[in-house]
Amino acid sequence: MDYIFLQHYWWFLISLLGALLVFLLFVQGANSLLFTLTHDESSRTLLINSTGRKWEFTFTTLVTFGGAFFASFPLFYSTSFGGAYWLWMIILFTFVLQAVSYEFQSKLGNFLGKKTYQVFIVINGMISPFLLGCAVATFFNGSAFFVDKSNIGNDIMPIISGWANNWHGIDALFNPWNVVLGLAVLFLSRGLGSLYLINNINNDKLELACRKQIKKDAVAFLIFFLAFIAKIFLASGFAVNPYSGEIYMEPYKYIQNIIDMPLLSLIFIVGVLAVLYGIFRGAFVKSAKDGIWFSGIGTVLTVLALLVSVGFNNTSYYPSSIDIQSSLTLANSCSSEFTLRTMFYVSLFIPVVLIYIFFAWRAMDRKQISSKELDEEEHTY
């Protein structure tokens, strides 16, 4: 288990966390449809209570994604969060609003009124998948930052990284290809959201509305997703020389990565097919409630393959568009061997976490949620 292995191991875990996060954005996707799918207050309550029992996982995964990135690739944490300040801040603001909205929206004395909190939930549902998608796209398209670690040896200006413009992350939206992936993730999350609701809620009208909605979101998702994939497969990518650490542009780098790592291409293809199959079942198979499982697992596999491919095979995963040698690679941005090794041992306990989450979910989701249940239950949103 050498240093190189540990770097890749940790990039794999970060990719997995990122992939799980995109899957768990089904909460946001369903929430973005709060006023679209529902026809009255009782169905809105159903929807909110349904995603309300899962939102903490999305939220916690986001937090853990931040913490794990910090521990394993601190230079990314430092450069991206400190540089693309506004992009991340806006994402965080919407999550802050969402986190209280569930608990507060239906309570007496909530100051802003029910509708406002529901709007907060929708805002988070629309904006966060979109912006997270844009942020991930910069892994392929680059961002305007520079890093010079030597600055710490300068007692007047010791800050090692900076952003080259005053937009601080908003500039990600100026690149249409970032927007394209942002939209793809948004529509994917909406599709997953509908599939989740079909599975989780026992309400015919809502189910019908979900099946209709999936078709629209699926078409939009496919257009944007395929466009983005075509673009990155045709584009040059940021490659790194593993011996000198020098970064250079290599034509067709990303498609080359997929070819060089056949297992990854298999995961990618299986993932995409599973997403499509799940959507198909949700949209066209009347009684099928299992679409979320196919599309959900498919999403995890697809995103995992994409994120792994942008870090493995001597690729720069967070390239700089203004100073190519500032680009972040696994080797130049990771924690020390000691820390990665220690955290490797810590990470071996992750399956324990997954096992209790599995049992807890199974206990809670044995029965579909219905209005009848909500009437009987004392604690509802």
């Binding site: 430092s78 400190g82 040896g153 300068n154 992750i350």
Partner: protein, 497 residues
């Protein structure tokens, strides 16, 4: 033009971190404290089988949920703020500091998130014991998360288990156990978590007193007070003991913080503790700092002049000498990197040695004036007193409450119920004051002696940080108003609904 860091950027970054952290800390202590009270009550329910306890648990759980939501919301930003606003810090020590944050996320937060769902929605879905286990695991998850974030904080106050690596230009961990089980972390955990239990206990006692004052839900209120007061007294006593250990540790590792907390300019042996103004108790500060009434405590000027001997028996360095050594370290790092790049091994090795000999004072190299090494004294002085006096008051309060409960005349003691109600905010004030002592008292350091706040910030425009500061201020203020509104309504409705 030489680029410099604007002083206003540093101040606004500090203000934002302070504000978001203090807001977050309005909700965390209650979560930690109430989780335990709820756990105890639900255990009583499962043990006795009485429905009365179930109703009681459910009521406190409802308040717990309202508070928990806003705690989670305000906590999110803190996880990312090290990166967004303290990016240089994040690189310089991320190799050590990131690990506890990641562990907190992977283990503690998921534990909380998983079991809180069962705790709230699982009453009719899982067995009694399953549910009880979930309630305890939610509280345990919260406490576990406190452990890791306090490990991270303790490390900033007392950096251990690492070595500076000039090639990567950062500190790197070389002992996980030293970081994770640092004595400062242990004390900090005991002091912070146990004092949070006091906040929870005061909350339960105070709200219950309100019911007694209104002459409603008397049995519920009395039972709640009994559980919370016993719990509160135990927590207050342990908090006092851990506070005492904390004082001795600070005297050793952060003497400036201790001197500031006393406003002590010229130190000596047998130093008195100032109660207020000129009212002093002889020799008590010496005792608090060294557990010896005649122990030596350096004052602010002694520390700046370096005219005393440290507890380790070494002659203290003056601020000037430390700054010089810091500058030597920084310059040596620069030379090392240039030589290393040019492949000049001999020079690189030489300066690596120079760096190694001075790296202990690395952060001092960024300090411009000696005066910057002194934290704001008034704030630290008064916060320290508020914390200590309230801590003593809480012990007394819980004893009195328990005394009247024992005599079974508590319901008649209206004055005590009024005091109980108004003691709720005091718990929060004491808890916040404690953090002010810990954090303001260590200024200018982000990491003690290694990196001052000025060299830790992100390179942003001041205006960006100002805007986010106000956005947070407004959002959090609105949410706080909403939270209090909801809590008040729920309390007025009472446990029977």
């Amino acid at each position: 033009m030489i680029e410099t860091i604007e002083a206003s950027l540093i101040d606004w970054s500090r203000a934002q971190f302070a504000m978001t952290a203090m807001y977050h800390w309005l909700f965390v202590p209650l979560t930690l404290g109430l989780a335990m009270v709820i756990g105890i009550m639900e255990s009583l329910y499962v043990y006795t089988g009485k429905e009365f306890w179930k109703t009681t648990v459910k009521f406190w759980m409802k308040l717990f949920g309202i508070n928990f939501a806003i705690g989670v919301a305000t906590g999110l930003i803190l996880e990312f703020e090290f990166g967004t606003n303290w990016s240089n810090y994040s690189w310089f020590v991320g190799d050590i500091f990131g690990a506890p944050l990641a562990i907190e996320g992977i283990f503690a937060f998921f534990m909380e998130a998983t079991f809180i769902a069962i705790m709230f929605f699982g009453w009719n879905k899982v067995s009694k014991r399953w549910h009880l286990a979930s309630t305890w695991l939610t509280g345990f998850g919260a406490t576990f998360s406190a452990w890791w974030i306090l490990v991270a904080n303790a490390w900033m106050q007392y950096p251990v288990g690492m070595k500076f690596n000039p090639e990567t230009v950062r500190n790197e961990m070389d002992s996980f156990l030293e970081v994770a089980l640092s004595p400062v972390a242990v004390t900090k955990f005991m002091h912070t978590v146990l004092s949070s239990w006091i906040v929870g206990a005061l909350f339960v006692v105070g709200i219950s007193c309100w019911y007694l004052l209104k002459k409603r839900n008397v049995d519920f209120a009395k039972a709640s007070i009994r559980v919370a007061a016993i719990f509160g007294l135990v927590a207050s006593l342990i908090t006092a003991v851990s506070g005492d250990s904390s004082g001795v540790q600070i005297a050793k590792s952060q003497p400036m913080k201790l001197a500031a907390a006393e406003g002590l300019y010229e130190g000596g042996t047998g130093v008195p503790f100032t109660i207020v103004g000129d009212l002093k108790v002889p020799k008590v500060l010496s005792f608090l700092a060294t557990h010896d009434f005649n122990g030596y405590v350096p004052g602010i000027n002694n520390i700046l002049r370096g005219d005393y001997t440290t507890p380790k028996g070494e002659k203290a360095l003056s601020a000037k000498e430390k700054i010089e050594k810091g500058k030597i370290a920084i310059a040596a790092l620069d030379t090392f990197r240039i030589a290393n790049k040019a492949g000049d091994k001999a020079v690189a090795e030489k300066y690596e040695k120079v760096l190694e000999n001075n790296v202990k004072y690395f952060g001092y190299g960024f300090i411009k004036n000696e005066a910057d090494l002194v934290p704001p004294i008034d704030i630290v002085f008064w916060s320290f007193r508020v914390m200590v006096y309230l801590g003593a008051y809480f012990i007394l309060f819980f004893i009195v409450v328990l005394w009247y409960l024992y005599k079974d005349t508590f319901t008649k003691r209206k004055w005590l119920q009024i005091i109980g109600l108004w003691s709720i905010p005091l718990g929060y004030i004491a808890s916040q004051a404690g953090w002010v002592v810990a954090e303001v008292g260590r200024q200018p350091w982000a990491i003690q002696d290694l990196l001052p706040v000025g060299a830790s910030v992100s390179r942003l425009q001041t205006s960006s940080v100002q805007i986010t500061f106000y956005i947070f201020l407004i959002i959090f203020a609105i949410l706080l108003i909403a939270e209090i509104g909801i809590l008040v309504k729920a309390i007025k409705k009472g446990p029977e609904h």
